[in-house]
Amino acid sequence: MKFDQPATTNPIDQERVVTRPHTRIEGPLKVTGQAPYAYEYRLPEAPTYGFVLGAGVARGRITAIDTAAAEAAPGVLLVLTHENMPAQGASDTPVPQQEDASPQLAGPEIRHYHQAVAFVVAETFEQARAAAHLIRVTYDVTPGQFTLADTLEEGKEPDDAADSVVGDFEEAFGAAAVTVDLTYTTPDQSQAPMEPHATIAHWEGEELTVHTAHQVVHWVKRGLAMTLKVPQKNVRVISAYVGGGFGTKLLFFSDAVLSAAAARVLGRPVKTALQRPLIFNNTSHRAATIQRVRLGADHAGNLSAVGHDTWTGNLPGGDSEPACEQTKYLYAGPNRQIRTRQSELDLPPGASMRAPGEAVGMLAIEGAMDELAEKLGVDPVELRLMNDVQFDPEKGPKRPFSSRKLAQALRTGARAFGWDGRPRTPRERQEGEWLIGYGVASAFRTNLVKPSGATVRLEPGGTLTVETQMTDIGTGSYTILGQVAAEMLGLTLEQVQVRLGDSEYPASSGSGGSWGANSASAGVYAACDALRRDLAKQAGYPYADAVFRSGKVWQGAECTELSELAGKEGVSATGSMTYGDLDEQFAQAGFGAHFVEVRVNAHTAEIRVNRALSVVGAGRILNPVTARSQCLGGMTMGIGSALMEELHVDHDLGLFVNHDLGEYHVPVHADIPDMDVIFLDELDDASSPLRAKGLGELGISGVGAAVANAVYNATGVRVRDFPITLDKILAGWDD
């Protein structure tokens, strides 16, 4: 099925199951510990245990690797290094790929700290771990470039973030009545899902099965096949429960490649979970940025010049952190200059983390809007309303937004939050020893859709089974896809079984870039559409007249039970959704507004978030329970990015030094107050038949800026070097 015309009325519009606040159908399994994550499958044959040893240098060559002691250690079955690693597909970049060969232990060259240099397999985990520490590695160290700020001159325009230049920015900025010119820095950040990257690999003859923690099943299936040089059809991937991804499980790493390679050598299953202190440098992270925002406006606040430049770095061949992308779409302004420059760094691989680009780009543009509002003496909400625009500002009115409720989100949020009662000037409100501040920011995240398929089977007895490679990384896929199928076939959610995350099922969009719920639902929609047509035909009703309700298909007052149509064998249909060019005809994005109140201790500058509200316009909300949780999760990670998350670079040795959960601070219970989410009524006809848009990343996109603006409002100190920690506030007070 191809979605190339805006949606018209369809069975989802009934909203009898979709949009209802169903709790998660897999919930009972998760809360009782019965849901199996990748490392937890029990195979008929006892597993062996893998342990990855990471490089102790950031750049150089292995000159010698002595594995004799490890090989002789109790229980050790195999030690793999670059010297005995079986042949692999090649890659021209050290950055692991989504669906292409990503070799491990490919040679003596070290391209980043904690790159895998050896893999020990033993009968037990304890034996493998102990043996790994007996390996002696000697390196010839090469100096590396670990400091983004030293590479700015060398930056190149990346393929994934093209320049947007409209009008004459420099002239307009120079002529503008009121301007701001501000530089922001955001640090390297870690996705840090609670489930480590983990894999169990086993072979039966030439056929490989991997249970692995991954976001997109067909990517890792193809990538592993290319890496191991086996046909794709010989690889089965199972990723039925994933303990969080946040982007890092879009790629596949040493646990998957080395477990699979070793299992083949040994003829026994190998299971490996990356040890937590390895994950931060061995896998992917969000790369640091330096951003310069220049805004020019007239005295009223109408933007005439919008400039946003980003500098970011990565290993050669890696993606950029496209922190200016949202600025292409967020506000009006006839003269625009939006550019990303990427340089080469020898730090670990940068890749996707929740809302690549926006999550850190919004910290800059929305901070700058706050500073501009202050300079103009206008309400920051008003400034945003004034510069709202209903079409792509680069392309003009010929490319309207499919839906854009930024203004409504700002107004609704301002009312609900009590924005009118805010302290108007910094340090205006103090309660005891706490300074109180309010902040606002817009929310923006590009809407993406991906082709996705599913099989649906009407079982004997009249229940329905949905099967798709789609993953549920906490996003609610099990429940949402069940709701979509129930709606389409006129069943209750309890009558639908959902099976996910197995490459035996039809390929799916997988989970990433906020595209999952909408895209995978559209795939289930397509499969259900095919099944409905079959069933109507079997019942002898013209499809146009057929209505599916209460476990029956109806034509007027006449009906046939679905269980009857299912017969003894059941009836199944497979379908998939692909997309035309509606995303070119229409700019598509989720919009919203964040409101935050903080308190900052007047003596210590300790920062606490008192309350937070996100107002969200993301098309049809397929399930308000799981959607709200996605927003809370994004808001929390955004608060983390504003106040604590930072991978500290050792600029001499080229590693992230705080590579564990004790030192890389993520928000904990005590950091997060009650928070509110308001969903706006919205249907986006151009996005999918579901009329939904992406949601999982909208929560993070902008909330950190609202926190920063609130901290300024409380303290009078603008910190543009994230995260905002108390030492930076205290330094500001000293000045």
Binding site: V31, Y37, G54, V57, G60, G243, R628, D652, P673, D674
Partner: protein, 208 residues
């Protein structure tokens, strides 16, 4: 700069070590007595997951920084990755599997479902075991960092947030977890004034 000759954590060592002896250990796990012969290096966590195949208890960090491995040891919450099984001969362990089953949920498990107190579910068994331990600690009058009067320990949302802060949830179900645990506390204590359940969460959660 001197090039390192050994990778992180590698201590100089004199060749292969002797085959580790095993030790017998008997644990009562979820009410069942289990006797095992274990390598003394096996953590309580790996004993549960790899030897008893009770994989409900999760490994998030394996060194006491995330809380995913929280279980109840003789009724008190502990990080099972930070302790060795052989140290607990004769003791009783309750894991998530011992709290309840899909057909017979513990009130906290039921409340987590209704309040959506999880997303990916990976931290969830730890959050639940930690919540059981926390409610018991408050009931026993064990104070915390945020307790105003050490002689009068009272339940509050802030007490919960403080005491559960060792249980990281990267999905950030925090407000919903607090709502769920508060509701269970209120219903067990027959008083609603202590409940801080969020109206939004409660309404959403009970939608079925």
């Amino acid at each position: 700069m001197t090039p390192p000759t050994a990778p992180q954590g590698a201590a100089p060592s004199e060749g292969p070590q002797p085959v580790p002896a095993t030790l017998p250990v008997t644990l009562t796990v979820n009410g069942q007595e289990r006797t095992l012969e274990l390598d003394p290096r096996v953590s309580l966590l790996d004993t549960l997951r790899e030897h008893l195949h009770l994989t409900g208890t999760k490994k998030g960090c394996d060194h006491g920084q995330c809380g995913a491995c929280t279980v109840l040891l003789d009724g008190q919450r502990v990080l099972s990755c930070l302790t060795l099984a052989v140290m607990h001969d004769g003791q009783a362990v309750t894991t998530i599997e011992g709290l309840g089953t899909p057909d017979d949920l513990h009130p906290l498990q039921d409340a987590f479902i209704r309040h959506d107190g999880y997303q990916c579910g990976y931290c969830t068994p730890g959050q639940l075991c930690s919540s059981v331990g926390t409610l018991d600690e408050i009931a026993r009058g064990v104070p915390s960092h945020v307790t105003a009067d050490l002689d009068d320990v009272r339940f509050s949302a802030d007490e919960l947030r403080e005491r559960l802060s060792g249980n990281l949830c990267r999905c950030a179900a925090y407000p919903n977890i607090i709502a769920a645990v508060s509701e269970v506390h209120a219903s067990q204590n027959g008083a609603s004034q202590n409940g801080t359940a969020q109206p939004g969460a409660a309404q959403n959660g009970v939608g079925q």
